[in-house]
Symmetry: C2
Subunit: 569 residues, 2 copies
Amino acid sequence: MKFIHVNMTSGAIAETPVPEKYQVLGGRGLTSIMINDRVPAGCDPLGEDNLLIFAPGYLSGTPLVNTGRLSIGAKSPLTGGIKESNVGGAMASALARLGIRAIIIEGKAPEDAWHHLVIDRAGSASLVDARDCHRMGNYALVERLQKDFGEKNAISSIGPAGEMCLKSASIQTTSPDGIPSRAAARGGLGAVMGAKGLKALVVSKQGRLAPPIADAEGFKAVSKRFAAAIKRDGWSGRVLPEYGTASILANTDASGALPTRNARQGSFEGADRINGDAVAHTIRQRGGQTTHKGCSQCIINCSNVYVDTAGNPVTAALEYETLWSMGAMTGIDDLDAIARLDFLCDDIGLDTMNTGVALAVAMDAGAIQFGDAPAAIDMVASVAQGTPMGRRIGNGPEAVGHHLNHSRVPTIKGQSIAGYDPRAMPGMGVTYATSPMGGDHTAGFVGGASGSTDVLRNASQSAQVHMAATDSMGLCMFAQSGGMDNLFRAIGAMMGAPFDAKTWQQLGTRILTAEIDFNRRAGLTEEADRLPKMFHTEALSPHYGTVPYPEKDLHGTFAALRQRLEAKE
Amino acid sequence: MKFIHVNMTSGAIAETPVPEKYQVLGGRGLTSIMINDRVPAGCDPLGEDNLLIFAPGYLSGTPLVNTGRLSIGAKSPLTGGIKESNVGGAMASALARLGIRAIIIEGKAPEDAWHHLVIDRAGSASLVDARDCHRMGNYALVERLQKDFGEKNAISSIGPAGEMCLKSASIQTTSPDGIPSRAAARGGLGAVMGAKGLKALVVSKQGRLAPPIADAEGFKAVSKRFAAAIKRDGWSGRVLPEYGTASILANTDASGALPTRNARQGSFEGADRINGDAVAHTIRQRGGQTTHKGCSQCIINCSNVYVDTAGNPVTAALEYETLWSMGAMTGIDDLDAIARLDFLCDDIGLDTMNTGVALAVAMDAGAIQFGDAPAAIDMVASVAQGTPMGRRIGNGPEAVGHHLNHSRVPTIKGQSIAGYDPRAMPGMGVTYATSPMGGDHTAGFVGGASGSTDVLRNASQSAQVHMAATDSMGLCMFAQSGGMDNLFRAIGAMMGAPFDAKTWQQLGTRILTAEIDFNRRAGLTEEADRLPKMFHTEALSPHYGTVPYPEKDLHGTFAALRQRLEAKE
């Protein structure tokens, strides 16, 4: 397995073997630990000292199913801290099967220089001039690249938002059938890619260098059991294939935890029109796909293809978080409008969550009306044109709030919350506040409406350690139903060394510690671990009050870990 | 603190100090460990060798809020194993404030002999002839006892079902305002009380012997913080006071986890008519109480008083589990009918869950129609008359299934599941199957729709250990929002000894081990830890399949603990 180093300043490309220190790491483990080791914490995220690292999970490319997630890491222009954003699609497997553990993008291209990084079926990398693709949306870009380089490539790319270095810019990745619909959405990593002058990463899917496995027989046997358990599970085997993540919406709404109209309510009267049943029914009626493979190696197929009344594809994977951010949060209950907004974000290269919440803040401030779908569509479309308001929307909720002098901005470290109100799900509030990633639901999901602060803090800490390890494996979080014991056995078989729950904990803790260390040195101390004031002062109708803990109580979540870091200094 | 021993064979009453071995135990800790020590595991639950133990929680009667739960323990005639059923109301505080740690009912009264056990304000106990109360329902009985002994008493009593030794018989306990609406419902403990010839326990609420506290100042300080945290919590401070546990229903229904029509569906089209909003709206409109104090020392007040159209009380505490069992499970979507069924169960002294599920089985077998409320009401009313069908309904779902030769019976160890379908919430399935208590949602709640078997087993085991410790303290499970750290400090201040998360774990493990040990010796080995076949063979519409684990995989949950027990033998 190898690293590919690409210096965008000089254009030099080098290959190295994986250094000893990083041997048994993949995904988020590699990106976060390398960034902490190698990126000056105080650097400009859009400057030449930042690194942009693409790393497939440790298990990506192996015969174990649902391990096709790609981690992308950098210092974030949105949060000012370390960022790992992971994404499905076809890229992680493609890289792993070329024997590539990580691509490390360094430096910064001269102004107006744009390149694609192309890696062929032999694993050989080259930079190709991309000036003719300037300002192309991801959909047209992918079509063009497939014409130029062939269809048997996985593509990760940025749209106009990334080129403009907007803080909500995503890096889109193609699904196995070539739709640029999978987003490494969070943290504005598309802006880092834009700052480096890299328009697209084009990687052959024809590699044959699957990662080495010490005990191939053992690995194969446990992989079978893992896949069978995923299929047997009600959620990953039934609900997700048929309804996707949209199935969560009815539930969140019923429990009063669905942030609605910029989190002024916890329940949306239009929920029935945008929930999992509505999405599946509409797609089925129009002849779209309710079940769609969004990631290589996936056997769950929670993605979908939403179509218009004529049956033409509008967007792929209308998912819970987008239905929430572009729907409930903005008061829009029209699935066709939400699908259009989702397409625009994928095409322009924007985080749908940060962008939906930016719209919600604009609505809350009175710039446009809640529920005004045409105005919302115009606003998002204007991001591609780079108009002043478009740039603000593309820079996220805080930029919009700042411009409109409006303080009800539901962000943590600059990044929007997800579709779970911390007043109704206080454990999610702890994760939002304390995750080194900023407001993030995948950083450590903590369910439930109740719990004392100490219990919530412990639950969040455990979940965050667990997810750090999960994200280092390339494992889809929904595939945990395959069995952690099976997973540990697979990892052990691959390494040729014992691996158990304790090793897993140690791995997660090592990754999280590196992230917290980087953030501390970047100036994001414990003081930054806070929720916006609105959650401490406004009750959430219909059911809930404010969050049940004072701000300072959140700081203790990683106290032991922080103390150890300080002691080391 | 003292024990009161009452021998129903001889009529002898004795007081003893709490033996050294049981010094720091209360509630379920006392009942389960003493039963394992003193009851022959193979005995007839309705015979003279069984003990019926009433024990307030270790913290009951102290200034710590929400610690007013009473544990009642015995060998269960329903499950054939050990049983602890805990209940709110006014009894636990009353006993604790008389310095009573436990009442141990031994022996068996001669045929046709009925007694009340009356404990006056001085803590002195006597048996009073109760033959004139024979076959009285709990409501009339409590009125009579309040006339005879005064209103300043807490009363725990059985109705006709307990007198007839029916296997779903409850022991009802009065709320602070004297309504016999709180039920120690599960496991048929009312039948054990009936077999002993004990109609009621009447205990003065005027005791002044609060349990001794080693560090009174420390205890007081932490109690304040504990109460403030409960009030601050969204669930215990807002939702429960306003909507009660009924608030859960919309959520369970939306996620497809609400067992409907004898668990043929996971969602009920009539859910909107019986959910938390419907209950609160109806009560408010008619002038009842949406917020009602069901337990002494309670600051949450999740109980309610449901009234008829004229504003007259029908029943107290229309709760989630009853709305589920008498509503969704039977296909009845009429709140007035459900309230009537709830009243009948409280009055006759029946577990609403086991009884609702018994009705659902009768409906599923075609004896009456799903949704036929008048027929359901007649059937439950007939339990009091002791008709053959009435006795079968009162003996629970398995008795009904056996009689009607119908095998779709959702019970574990004879006891019905609760309102969470194990196919949609597989972690609850692990708890149902493996809890020494039989199908029980309070034995170890595990949320979530997904998870691998090992993760679910671990989650269930942890939750079961945690709940065993919780139930030994007299703590309301909703009051955990007060903070486990605060709780540990309070226990430590009371004991005058360090108490922390590890001590808590040890306590819970000790209790659970005693229960599993008793069951093993009673013939409930690991083989009894299984879900009914229907959950393994029938998919759950609209969302779920069968449970995601084969039957034998459930057996491992307490493997280590069982091995230790076997090694000891």
